[in-house]
Amino acid sequence: MEVTTENPVAQSRLSGLLGPENVIVTTVEQLFAWAQGHSFWPLTSGLACCALEMMACGAGRFDLARFGYEVFRPSPRHADLLIVAGTLTWKMAPPLVRLYEQMPESKWVIAMGSCASGGGPFVDSYSVVQGVDKILPVDVYIPGCPPRPEALMHGMLTLKEKVMAAKRRGGKK
């Protein structure tokens, strides 16, 4: 087997994958993980100011579409990624859990910003959930108040790594 590329990283990765006749041999699980990790369909789920950074992320200047993550869906039935972008109050918590439950498997949750990660500046309030991990299983936490679009992109790429690594290990999610 011979792989021709200038990139040493790509060289090392491809050399383990390519068989004779340039055929890539893999498992269905890894193939699905590769597709899922490169094509998240996020739910349009802005709760507060972080949502504006999320919108900027999808717009032309930052262009989330470069990574294949730009298909924000207004319906949870079409989405597989819940980006909790903003402050979550106890009043809003039941509807958010309901949205999460309406999303089909496989699904992931990103806690975007200080509020979603741990309550943020409102951590002492009686009405604010002290981090969405109190009510939802969070995969990636993004710090910042609010995080810049680059940080959200880094979070989604981190989630991609997580999705693909989990399937390589053979574990769940």
């Binding site: 106890w90 009043k91 039941p94 309550g119 002492d124 009686y126 002290q130």
Partner: protein, 137 residues
């Protein structure tokens, strides 16, 4: 329109007489308080003081009407039959102070979760739990 005249008076009422008093203020041609600006409350310890802010588009006058209820059993008639603007204000006071508005057509929590906070945040005896205090919720 009449001349611009902005004055704010304060009158005390009682829970029993509140509805009749407010109806008089709204309908009597001498007053014509046709708008309800706000319903809120003040915790005075033994009593909760309900505060109704009225405004007249006819005379451009403001009026504050107050009525005190027992903090241990805070109940008062809803004024939503006189001004629909009271619907949300009374629900907020209900969430924040625990006042029961008798005759309110839709007394679901407005700001609190569906099953309520379990406490009344704007009462003076409520203390913020701090960042570790919500753990049991």
């Amino acid at each position: 329109m009449n001349q611009v005249m902005i004055e704010t008076g304060v009158v005390e009422s009682t829970p029993a007489a509140l509805l009749a008093d407010l109806q008089e203020l709204r309908d009597n041609a001498a007053y014509r308080f046709d708008r309800l600006l706000d319903v809120t409350a003040v915790d005075r310890g033994e009593t909760l003081e309900l505060v109704y802010r009225l405004h007249s588009l006819q005379t451009n006058c403001d009026l504050v009407v107050k009525a005190s209820v027992d903090s241990a059993k805070p109940e008062i008639a809803s004024v939503s039959g006189l001004w629909e603007a009271a619907l949300f204000g009374e629900r907020e006071v209900q969430d924040m102070f625990g006042v029961v508005f008798i005759g309110h057509p839709d007394p679901r929590p407005l700001l609190a979760p569906e099953d309520g906070f379990g406490f009344f945040p704007l009462r003076k005896n409520y203390k913020l739990p701090g960042r570790s205090g919500q753990a049991g919720r």
